[in-house]
């Protein structure tokens, strides 16, 4: 007997194999596991990201970087031009921003509708024996799952309404399914052990919650890329092992440590070593490939071909399509239906094509007025909600620049930042020391992407860089929002920024917002120390005048005058 003789023995029972229900069922399970793992890891990931950003912000440069660092091969942006100085009235700019926002909303709706309609033939192709009623049910469920990726692409005001609507419909569908299953079981007079199993409901709700968490505003920046890494990892790591298990399963008994077979089987050490080596290699390969995929996706965003919202929506559609199609292929067709493996591709591409056609040509490709957001670092939800709505609207007019900080992790982590974090290269997006205006412009993306939205440029800085960076950002920005909610004399960073604006004569471009937590007398003292008068600063008290629209218009006026 030698080590490979076990190949001639009968393999393990089919019911014990990973491929028991066919390859497509395993793929669905792997994707679901990746989603659940990504969601479960999200609090840890968020905490780790915050921790890393905070520590990197505390670094002091002790030796200048070589030229190679300033011109890395992956960065292709050239120093951008200042904003176009046309004399467009703010009202006209506002109207065109609104119109484009509506067009994106409409195009997203059309893309979603095409996805839902296309689900009907997809259901038939992936499972020809499916009844028409079931195909409609398939399309309804696909539409519900695709609702959340679609919502990512819509303005924030849609999110709450549509989420409630989606949850209500989801609950209704679940209830109908439960009632249908119960009545069906009673009608068929099934024995007790074959009736509906109620534990399915909490499991289904848990999976649904994990899926929804992927697209949650405060999580998706970090969790979606992680879900992609884990999905690719699972496919590359587990799937080949499952295939191997079905082929050489008879030798696997020797791999189980402590088993009687392991001790006595010929070639036990050979198979143990082989499987260990193979498993470790596949795991490394899976991790590397997962990071590679996320890195390529991040480059699409970094180079301005896609914005992070469209990217998140597209990834969501791909995940939905994969789960729906692979979950629908019947066991008996699983081995022969190569067509089903490709069905998600035309399904998703068709929906994206409908979105692109409905969106039409973007209105302009020139840099728009740049908004700089200076703020007290705070993770207050109210503060973040206003910033989120404002920057979402401004992106249809021009870029939004801001100093990166731990407070923005809920709003602005894009796939590029996440990919850099996951690959332990987050330090490379931090500016280490003072930069020239051109060097800073070279790092800002000021052109709109193909969806017509401008970029939110977060500029991260070491402790030795942030003062100079803020100074340069003040110089190149057209309008400045100074969010002073929570300002106290202890907030030395923001106090420095107020003095900087006054000394550089930029107060005419500033709208300051505050509330009952703002120490306005201290602001006046800072202005006086910098040689400016208090009435030079345009103020908006959000306690007495909470209109976000008014703030937007005032900033727009500052930006184009």
């Amino acid at each position: 007997m030698n080590a490979v003789d076990c190949l001639d023995q009968a393999g393990p029972a089919a019911s014990t194999l990973m491929l028991e229900d066919g390859p497509f069922a395993l793929l669905v399970v792997l994707i679901i596991m990746a989603i659940v793992m990504a969601t479960a890891l999200s609090p840890l990931l968020r905490r780790a990201f915050l921790h890393r950003v905070t520590r990197l912000m505390g670094l002091n440069q002790v030796r200048p970087r070589p030229d190679g660092w300033w011109n890395p091969p992956y960065r292709t942006l050239s120093p951008s031009e200042p904003a176009a100085t046309d004399n467009t009235a703010s009202a006209q700019l506002h109207a065109s921003a609104l119109a484009w926002e509506q067009r994106v909303t409409r195009a997203t709706g059309i893309g979603w509708l095409i996805f839902v309609l296309a689900a009907i033939p997809v259901a038939g192709w992936s499972n020809p024996s499916m009844a028409w009623g079931d195909r409609l049910g398939f399309a309804t469920f696909a539409g519900l799952l695709a609702l959340w990726p679609a919502l990512v692409n819509l303005p924030p005001r849609w999110t709450r309404k549509a989420t409630y609507l989606g949850l209500a419909v989801l609950a209704l569908v679940a209830l109908t399914a439960v009632i249908g299953e119960e009545s069906g079981a009673s009608a068929r007079s099934l024995p007790e052990e074959e009736t509906f199993e109620w534990w399915v409901i909490p499991v289904a709700l848990g999976l649904g919650a994990a899926y929804l968490a992927l697209f949650r505003r405060s999580l998706r920046g970090l969790v979606l890329p992680l879900a992609v890494v884990l999905s690719v990892f699972m496919l590359v790591f587990v799937f080949p092992l499952a295939l191997m298990e079905s082929r050489v399963g008879s030798c696997l008994a020797t791999f189980t440590p402590g088993s009687a077979e392991a001790a006595s089987a010929p070639g036990a050490h050979f198979w143990t070593g082989t499987f260990s080596m193979l498993g470790a290699t596949l795991a490394m390969l899976g991790l590397w490939f997962g990071f590679w995929v996320v890195g390529r996706l991040a480059l699409l965003v970094e180079r301005g071909w896609l914005d992070e919202l469209s990217m998140a929506a597209a990834i969501g559609l791909v995940i939905t399509a994969l789960m729906m199609v692979f979950g629908n292929v019947p066991d008996e067709l699983a081995d022969q239906s190569a067509l089903a493996a490709w069905l998600p591709l035309p399904w998703v591409l068709g929906s994206i094509a409908a979105f692109v056609v409905a969106l039409g040509k973007r209105p302009k490709t020139a840099p728009g007025p740049q908004l700089l957001v200076l703020r007290v670092f705070s993770r207050d939800r109210r503060q973040q909600a206003l910033l989120d709505r404002l920057q979402s609207r401004w992106r249809y007019v021009g870029t939004v620049n801001q100093a990166g900080g731990p407070d923005m992790v809920d709003l602005n982590v894009d796939p590029y930042e996440c990919a850099m974090f996951l690959s332990s290269r987050l330090h490379d997006i931090f500016l280490p020391a003072a930069v020239s205006k051109d060097q800073l412009r070279g790092r800002l993306n000021t052109l709109p992407d193909h969806g017509g939205r401008y970029r939110i440029n977060e500029v991260f800085n070491f402790n030795t860089a942030w003062r100079s960076t803020v100074e340069q950002l003040v110089q190149i920005s057209d309008a400045i929002l100074l969010d002073l909610r929570g300002l106290t004399p202890e907030r030395e960073g923001t106090c420095y920024e107020i003095g900087l604006l006054a000394k550089n004569g930029k107060l005419a471009r500033v709208v300051a917002v505050g509330d009952d937590t703002t120490d306005w007398p201290h602001v006046d003292r800072l202005l006086a120390e910098a040689g400016a008068s208090a009435d030079q600063l345009k103020r908006l008290d959000l306690d007495t005048d909470p209109k976000q629209e008014r703030l937007f218009l005032q900033l727009l006026e500052k930006g184009i005058t």
């Binding site: 520590r55 990197l56 912000m57 505390g58 670094l59 002091n60 440069q61 002790v62 030796r63 200048p64 970087r65 070589p66 030229d67 190679g68 660092w69 300033w70 011109n71 890395p72 440590p257 392991a262 050490h269 143990t272 070593g273 260990s276 080596m277 470790a280 290699t281 490394m284 991790l287 200076l374 703020r375 007290v376 670092f377 100093a403 900080g405 332990s424 290269r425 330090h427 490379d428 280490p432 800085n461 070491f462 402790n463 030795t464 942030w466 907030r491 030395e492 960073g493 923001t494 420095y496 920024e497």
Partner: protein
């Protein structure tokens, strides 16, 4: 708390270095090495890990645990020290170090 430093080479590539005990290196040296982009060490630790596991499965459970703990402590204590030694011996130069919390005054 460990000290964070940043090293840079002539091509402008940066790597982070943390001082002190490394839990990650103790648990998974390969992942620790990959995180630092130390490809050679990652390859070596992959081979070592496979060999070590093949050896472990043939031993008693108590011996396995003792060996695993010894390895955990050894890697945890040595990894960052070796990393720093490799960086300073090679073409890497210290470019940034952590400031004290009171010196960091962002907004």
């Amino acid at each position: 708390m460990s000290q964070l430093s940043l090293y840079v080479n002539e091509q402008g590539r940066c790597v982070t270095h943390y001082s002190g005990f490394s839990w990650l290196a103790g648990f998974a040296l390969v992942v620790w090495a990959l995180q630092r982009r130390a490809w050679g060490l990652a390859g070596f630790s992959l081979l070592y890990g496979v060999g070590f596991n093949v050896l472990l499965v043939q031993l008693e459970a108590g011996t396995q645990l003792a060996l695993y703990l010894a390895q955990f402590l050894l890697f945890g204590f040595l990894a960052n020290r070796v990393h720093r030694w490799v960086l300073e011996r090679g073409a890497w130069q210290l470019t940034a170090t952590e400031s004290r919390p009171e010196e960091s005054r962002h907004a």
